[in-house]
């Protein structure tokens, strides 16, 4: 009995030790893989997914990294991420500043996807949401500087819907108009043509993944003018008609601005005399 039990007990111990070792080793590796995969969840700002891509969390589960979208892109703009790049290895992306999406009407990349990671229910490229253009730098945008660059507006495949030019007064000159490019998220496809075409050294308008680019109003917010229109009238006290006190001969219409001919230019106001600081604040004493 003892002769039979002793070796089997030793074998059992060995088996348990081996199993524990194996489980720990594999478990540690699994932890590493899991954490690594978690880190790759957030798409880096310069990487844009092809049209129809599912939201990033679902995409990383649905994309099997086969590269058929890369192959079927007629403009060869897509890459598969290499291991050293900060997104899931083997998943497709493009960089708008290098090669933007050319927005093929027949959606070859979407059709090529065998799993539906690029959603096959997308039939119209103009409905795609690859990302969202954002005019990131108001200091370098030439239109903000008062020039008529307009390139982002002109190259936009959804011109006058995705990007419009919003006219504003150039307060620097006091007599010119700034044509401010405004991106409208309900029409922008995120193709990146504006970013590619922006003439500044570093693009002043950039396309970002939607999660980075889009804000969201709190759900309890109501827009007064919308609510007023819906209700057919003011929901609070009736609006008092605004009265403008204009110089002789001048007229102001809402939305049109000033018109008319001012009689005489009022003399420039003399600069106000510098206000002396109260005694208490002079020097370093109270």
């Amino acid at each position: 009995m003892d002769n039979e039990n002793k070796p089997s007990a030793a074998a059992r111990r060995q088996f348990l030790a081996d199993t524990a070792r194996m489980a720990c080793g594999v478990g540690l590796l699994g932890l590493g893989v899991g954490l690594y995969a978690r880190h790759a969840r957030a798409l880096p700002p310069a990487a844009i997914r092809p049209p129809g891509a599912l939201p990033e969390t679902e995409f990383s589960a649905a994309c099997i990294r086969c590269g058929l979208c890369v192959r079927d892109c007629p403009f060869d703009i897509l890459h598969l991420a290499k291991p050293e790049e900060p997104l899931s290895t083997g998943t497709p992306y493009f960089v708008a500043r290098q090669f933007p999406c050319e927005m093929c009407e027949d959606l070859p990349c979407v059709k090529a996807c065998p799993t539906g990671a690029l959603d096959h229910s997308l039939k119209d490229i103009n409905k795609s949401k690859m990302g969202l253009a954002v005019l990131v730098d108001h200091e370098t945008c030439l239109n903000f500087l008062g020039l008529r660059c307009d390139i982002c507006y002109r190259v936009c495949p959804v011109i006058d819907k995705a990007i419009t030019l919003d006219r504003q007064i150039n307060v620097r000159t006091g007599r010119h108009t700034q044509f401010i490019p405004v991106v409208h998220s309900d029409h922008c496809t995120g193709c990146g043509k504006c970013e590619k075409a922006c003439p500044t050294e570093v693009a002043s308008i950039k396309v970002f993944p939607l999660y980075m680019a889009k804000g969201q109003l709190s759900s309890h917010y109501r827009l007064g003018w919308v609510e007023k229109e819906k209700a057919g009238g003011s929901l609070v006290a009736p609006d008092v008609e605004h009265r403008y006190n204009m110089p002789e001969g001048m007229k102001y219409e809402s939305g049109k601005g000033l018109s008319g001919n001012p009689g005489a230019v009022p003399p420039a106001p003399t600069p106000p005399a510098p206000v002396a600081l109260p005694k208490a604040f002079q020097g370093n004493k109270l």
């Binding site: 194996m22 893989v33 649905a62 291991p83 083997g90 065998p114």
Partner: protein, 302 residues
């Protein structure tokens, strides 16, 4: 003491070369390498020469815009991450599963997988350099690895293993650009060379583990029509990447029929090549009735 005696270790297969000639003693090896390089070339013909017979990579490929083939293992991970792929990918996976049910799951490892070229080279070099000793990790560790990849897929909700998988990394890398994937492949190579004999493919790779499960019911198997002729030269054990699969069939352990039934046999056919007595041959498992083996007691019927 150190008298030079003619005891230089005879390389496994030398006897077979002498008995059958070099070509016959390397037949399956040559066929297998042709298959591995041929499949790789089919994938590379598109990007290299613009001949688009096969598009994609081993995870999913489309042949002549007609035949979809998908890796059922990556599809399983996608399912574990709670995404149901569309019909084309599922069809591709079904075709591949059916194919390997027929030819043996781990045939994938020896006839298709590009990493096998790397690890076979590591093993060849290991023998050439006379590197002895090997870390001990039990072979079933690969099934733990397989489980781990499915659990990480489920927990992270993404095909997490694809970020590290040397198999798809190598194949995709060769076709779409390697990047730093060479470092992962070098790690696998060095691990097999210096740390562990048949380390990656024989002990750890979850892809092989998955395909071995498909292979449990494989039709194409290595049979031993002449196992009585075995002269115990041990050459088959020396060349086999999974030597544990040979013994039961060769020695009729517990009445095992003369066919290698173990799912981890990769159907590489190298044992057929190196056997000077022609003990082995490819066959099917249809007729696996136990032939009475002289001198070995049959297992008592249960």
């Amino acid at each position: 003491m150190s008298a030079v005696v003619n005891t230089a270790p005879v390389r496994p297969g030398a006897e077979a070369v002498a008995a059958k000639g070099w070509l016959a003693a390397h037949k399956w090896l040559i066929l297998r390498r042709s298959s591995q390089f041929g499949i790789l070339m089919l994938f590379l013909a598109g990007p290299w020469f613009g001949i688009w017979i096969v598009k994609g990579n081993l995870n999913f490929s489309y042949t002549l815009n007609f035949l979809p083939l998908a890796d059922p293992y990556v599809i399983l991970q996608s399912l574990a991450a709670r995404q149901v792929p569309e019909k084309l990918a599922l069809t591709g996976a079904a075709i591949v599963v059916l194919f390997y049910l027929l030819v043996g799951g781990r045939s994938y490892c020896s006839w298709v997988c590009p990493v096998n070229l790397l690890t076979d080279f590591a093993y060849w070099l290991r023998v050439r350099l006379g590197l002895k000793g090997s870390a001990h990790i039990s072979r079933p560790t690969r099934y733990w690895m397989l489980g781990m990849t499915l659990v990480t897929a489920a927990v992270t909700g993404s095909i997490a293993w694809e970020m590290l998988n040397p198999v798809s990394m190598m194949h995709r890398g060769l076709i779409f650009g390697l990047g730093l994937a060479w470092a992962v492949l070098l790690a696998v190579f060095l691990f097999d060379l210096f740390v562990m004999r048949h380390g990656w493919c024989g002990h750890l790779c979850p892809v092989g583990a998955f395909y071995s499960l498909i292979g449990i019911f494989a039709r194409v198997r290595v049979k031993l029509p002449a196992r009585d002729a075995c002269n115990d030269c041990m050459d088959c054990f020396a060349v086999c990447p999974e030597p544990q699969v040979i013994r039961p069939a060769l020695k009729a352990v517990a009445g095992t029929p003369p066919v290698i039934l173990e799912a981890n046999c990769t159907n590489c056919g190298r044992c057929i090549d190196v056997c000077s007595k022609d003990v082995f041959a490819f066959g099917t498992r249809v007729n696996t009735t136990v032939a009475p083996v002289t001198g070995v007691p049959q297992a008592a019927p249960k």
